[in-house]
Symmetry: C2
């Protein structure tokens, strides 16, 4: 299944061919690896047929799709190409070297999509649409953020609410680690006081983890919608954030260390919530 | 608490001062960021007072300790310095720039230790010393490997057995992510046939996860010692590895995705094992 249509054929189908590193569009998309440019353009990059297909299934199509020769051979890529063309998106054939430059990764994927970012305002969240919401406070590691999105998808969470100064959810590494969940989870950025004020306008159990509590995480009943609050990797939750929680729990720590990786702790907690609902 | 002793004072206490980037020892330690050199020297790098103190508590002292001015001010650092001196280790004062060069990280920690690697031969493992052992197959991401070590410590696992071509557990990123568990968990590298042959010489339930099974992970009773087998990030467990398992289970996946991050899946499984033992 090698697509051997000529550049002229492709051009007739609305494709562009870009082979120059100094092409302004290449420079512009390359700049989306930088948070400042992402914010200004309201765009971000996602890579790979699998994630781009998940995006399409979730209703998200890229404004631009960059591919190298052979990148549109797979049947799913053919469907993606048609959907993008129907939606008026740009299809841009380029070289593997330029794809690598755009993704910043050796062995770049053969497809790179440029998407409008998809932040949801806090007040547009319908908390009753899910039994779990994850709230991250000053989360700094993009791999952790993406992994938490991925876990959120797996446990049927509604979305991820980012408070304080978290790493950018639309950064290349976070998007990669999310494995497509960047398109299926709602993503909110909010100030902590605004989040708390909003939370208290309706039902919602705010759940935090703490080293200072005696409540075992399996001894507490979680009430939907549960807002699972995850603290900064190095500091954990600040004391006043802990004080704002309806319940504080701890997981058993049987070794020398006193904490888990933030994404791991989030997942262990979230599966406990899922398991309690399954038992009901 | 600023240590303003002169280089001459420190020299009298057995310290060396190295300020040149081209110093052979700097080059040699710098080369430990490369797996080939780590293997040849049998040494690896760990950074930061917290991890180095955990190492000491676990009985591991560095052959060399690099520090910048002020790096030995903390009381725990003073204890560490004394223990290293007692054990005949080298104490090397250097510059922040050289520490950054050694660690490869901006904002390097103020302490870098060089340790002998600590692989345990498979046949020296005493499986009865722990109820959980984690087995990773072709795990490629150093962050995942380190995070799995950290989780292993938290759940009281005995150690991590690496089969097939896993990322190096003594790489800088894996050591960092382990948060000290590189020193508290036993680490084994083994060929899969050798591991299976060894496993079957004694008690041990080999537990894998699979998308193809109907067994819910909470519906199975785990028998100690449980060997929790984690597959490669992209491929999961090969079919013949699944076939070698005593039990295959799956976790609920309530969203669009069909898998969890490898370190997350390991933790969710490991805490289920811990919780079953707590219920007994």
């Amino acid at each position: 299944m090698y697509d051997d249509s000529s550049p002229a054929d492709r051009n007739a189908r609305g494709h562009r061919l870009i082979t120059g590193f100094s092409n302004p569009l290449v420079k512009r998309v390359r700049s989306l690896r930088d948070k400042k440019h992402r914010r200004r353009e309201g765009l971000f990059i996602a890579e790979g047929l699998r994630i781009l297909t998940e995006a399409r299934d979730a209703g998200a199509l890229p404004e631009m799709l960059f591919y190298a020769r052979g990148g549109l051979d797979h049947p799913l890529a053919v469907e993606l190409e048609a959907a993008i063309a129907d939606a008026g998106g740009e299809l841009i054939e380029t070289t593997p070297d330029i794809l690598t430059k755009l993704s910043g990764k050796d062995n770049a994927q053969t497809l790179i999509g440029v998407y409008p970012d998809r932040l949801t305002p806090l007040e547009e969240i319908d908390r009753d649409t899910a039994e779990i919401w994850i709230v991250a406070q000053a989360l700094r590691d993009p791999g952790n953020l993406g992994t938490i999105l991925r876990t959120g998808d797996a446990v049927g969470a509604g979305g991820l609410i980012l408070v304080d100064d978290c790493t950018d959810p639309f950064g290349v590494e976070a998007v990669r680690a999310s494995m497509g969940a960047i398109f299926t989870q709602q993503i909110v950025q909010a100030r902590w006081p605004d989040f708390i004020a909003w939370l208290r306008t309706g039902p919602g159990q705010l759940l935090g983890t703490s080293l200072q509590t005696d409540h075992d995480y399996q001894a507490v009943r979680y009430e939907p919608p549960t807002f699972l609050l995850v603290g900064n990797e190095a500091q954990g939750l600040p004391a006043d954030y802990q004080a704002a929680c309806d319940v504080l729990v701890k997981m058993p720590m049987l070794g020398k260390a006193d904490s888990l990786n933030a994404a791991v702790a989030t997942a262990v907690m979230a599966y406990e919530i899922v398991n309690q609902r399954r038992d009901d």
